[in-house]
Symmetry: D2
Subunit: 141 residues, 4 copies
């Protein structure tokens, strides 16, 4: 696996489901958040740079639900960095069913890095850009 | 208020928040789902038409997080029908803070209507289209 | 209704359910928390006394699940103060189905009032006891 | 570790917390449910016996919150079978913080085994008792 991708797994449990016996849409948001924390946990230097007075704030999410996951499915959440804007960072996340590789969810969350003291979005430049650029993995065409 | 819009309210409670003291992103998905159920509850004839062998399946969601809601905020969820495709239905949902009308979330969920017996997406035509078209409220420019 | 009881209502939605098509047990915890916040919201003087450097910390919960709530059930959460200990406060909460009054959940959460600066449990005495005692409603025999 | 205990782990993430920066009480219910599913997953023969027309229904939970877990805590959920009644099964579950072994939660959920066709609680006898009795691990005095 490309080292710019973080993989984390989830076992689908009863409490993730709703009355349709599929994983409820809101739960995928938690699975994706789980993937992003794992991404940071694997990159402690980046995590340190983003701690302190910087908050990662999600400003947009585009999410496609391609296949409904069901009880006992084992899912993998793949998380990577897709694009850098002047003041925003776009990640790419997919959730696949382990075993048959069925694509369950595709998501592109966009973040700003908020300076919590000055209450403004940081420019993605200098040290910050230097830390992020090597992690970029443009989505496959 | 335009009769094509359904308004429902939510009080932000401690359990909706995360460690940033803002409503966690996944909770907004639940607030939006709440709004859609209220939308159907206000339109029992439509709800009946969409019951039985038809399942509304969300295939995509675009959601923008504009302002972080905090403890004790009172929110309103506004839900309406934005567009009809050949085989899809696009809704428009906004979440505002009551009091100062601050826009918190904008979301456009896209659904297909699945024939659960034949396992295929229904065309938006005939009776179904006749029931949905009068509800259309194109988003303001 | 006895003025020492706060009543709040919940509509059971799809996202509250799990694959058994019943409300998932963890959701009842949220309904109960909702009831407790409503209890405080109805008693602003008490809420002020419990704000600032005091945190209400749940130390124990005994909860009985008597009947499984299902989609579209309308529930009422009834919240009152059941007992005062030297350093603890016991509440009584029930969840009933509106319409046929079926008892769904009975819960007795126990709290300590934590002085967040001194990191110790406050004694229920003086002003605090004077504010709480008139609210006591011992459970029916 | 005693083979009658199942151990499963949870990383505390931001979305598990509430505004107090502690894991929200309702989340512990999910952690405990996670532990019970893992318990069954480790015992496939038992899981098969409890599938089909039998539903495990939680009728009571006593849960003590001993220490508030915080962001980045790694928790272990320990699940075992504590007692058999004529028509009920009592489990014992604890959640500990890995590293310093701090006890976070102690819980004793009680279940009935519901015959979903006859809508009545099964007696814990015969085959069922024979499958469950070897798993018993009475709580330490």
């Amino acid at each position: 696996m490309d080292t710019r991708i973080t993989r984390t797994t989830v076992n689908v449990r009863n409490y993730h489901l709703d009355a349709y016996a599929h994983v409820n849409n809101a739960r995928y948001m938690e699975f994706l958040e789980e993937g992003r924390w794992a991404y940071l946990a694997e990159r402690p230097e980046l995590a340190r740079k983003l701690a302190g007075d910087i908050a990662l704030v999600m400003v947009n999410l585009n999410i496609s639900f391609l296949h409904g996951a069901v009880l006992h499915d084992k899912l993998e959440v793949m998380t990577s960095l897709a694009r850098l804007g002047d003041r925003s960072v776009v990640m790419s996340q997919t959730i696949n069913r382990i075993g048959d590789d069925r694509r369950v969810v595709e998501a592109t969350p966009t973040f700003v890095l908020l300076d919590t003291r000055q209450k403004k979005a940081l420019g993605i430049q200098g040290d910050l850009e230097a830390a992020l650029r090597p992690l970029l993995l443009p989505p496959a065409a």
